[in-house]
């Protein structure tokens, strides 16, 4: 059975801090890993990672995948209160039709 484990489950930081969120996975015939941001409503897509070692970047957010060690990290630099959200990691296999989500990391950025 596919497994996605995120850590930490929750995190409180001060504005301006840098945070690193972790996602490890076990999936048969891995295809891709995706990151989502959820702010009290539907998740919104951040990144999709398929190849190891290639960093995806969008503003202050970046993510990278390690297919050998079966994990991904999501970095947020110079955090802002608007980054407060639940960050979800999901994986999909080549034989799968649906995303398999982790429990999420709840991030709170305080002023």
């Amino acid at each position: 059975e596919d497994k996605v484990v995120q850590s930490p489950l929750s995190l409180v930081v001060h504005e301006g801090d840098t945070v690193t969120l972790n996602c490890s996975y076990e999936v048969t015939n891995f295809r891709s890993l995706l990151w989502y941001k959820q702010e009290k409503k539907a998740p919104t897509f951040l990144f999709m990672l398929t190849s190891s070692g290639i960093e995806k970047k969008s503003g202050r957010l970046s993510s990278i995948l390690d297919k050998k060690e079966l994990f991904s990290i999501l970095n947020i630099t110079a955090t802002q209160t608007g980054d407060s959200a639940v960050y979800l990691c999901a994986v999909i296999s080549n034989s799968g039709y649906a995303l398999n989500f982790g429990k999420g990391t709840s991030l709170l950025v305080t002023p």
């Binding site: 996605v4 995120q6 489950l9 295809r31 891709s32 995706l34 989502y36 409503k41 539907a42 998740p43 919104t44 897509f45 999709m48 398929t50 979800l88 999901a90 999909i92 039709y97 649906a98 995303l99 398999n100 989500f101 982790g102 429990k103 999420g104 709840s106």
Partner: protein
């Protein structure tokens, strides 16, 4: 472009009642999904469909039924509601061949069973 539309947004049911959560998409997506999200948990797949007339169970299908008579609509039926079905329900869709890219999610239905 409406995207994925879910109705209702909120609902309170009594134990044993039944209801249908509606989901409609106007993007001609073949793949549609129903997830539930409990507090502090990720999304768990209830049912999915890869096209009209085709549905399959996900991780937590018990107590639910679905149908997919058209490409646009993917309703989720709750029979004999139980408190364990109190959750937020999300419908999502994606186009054929790009299921690995971000889904388009509906805004969710918050259901409370009392």
């Amino acid at each position: 472009n409406a995207g994925v539309t879910q109705t209702p947004k909120f609902r309170i049911l009594k134990i044993g009642q039944s209801m249908t959560l509606q989901c409609t998409q106007d993007m001609n997506h073949n793949y549609m999904y129903w997830y539930r999200q409990d507090p502090g948990m990720g999304l768990k797949l209830i049912y999915y469909s890869v096209g009209a007339g085709i549905t399959d169970k996900g991780e937590v299908p018990n107590g639910y039924n679905v149908s997919r008579s058209t490409t646009e609509d993917f309703p989720l039926r709750l029979e004999l509601a139980a408190p364990s079905q109190t959750s937020v329900y999300f419908c999502a869709s994606t186009s054929r061949g790009t299921a690995l890219y971000g889904y388009t999610f509906g805004s969710g239905t918050r259901l409370t069973v009392v």
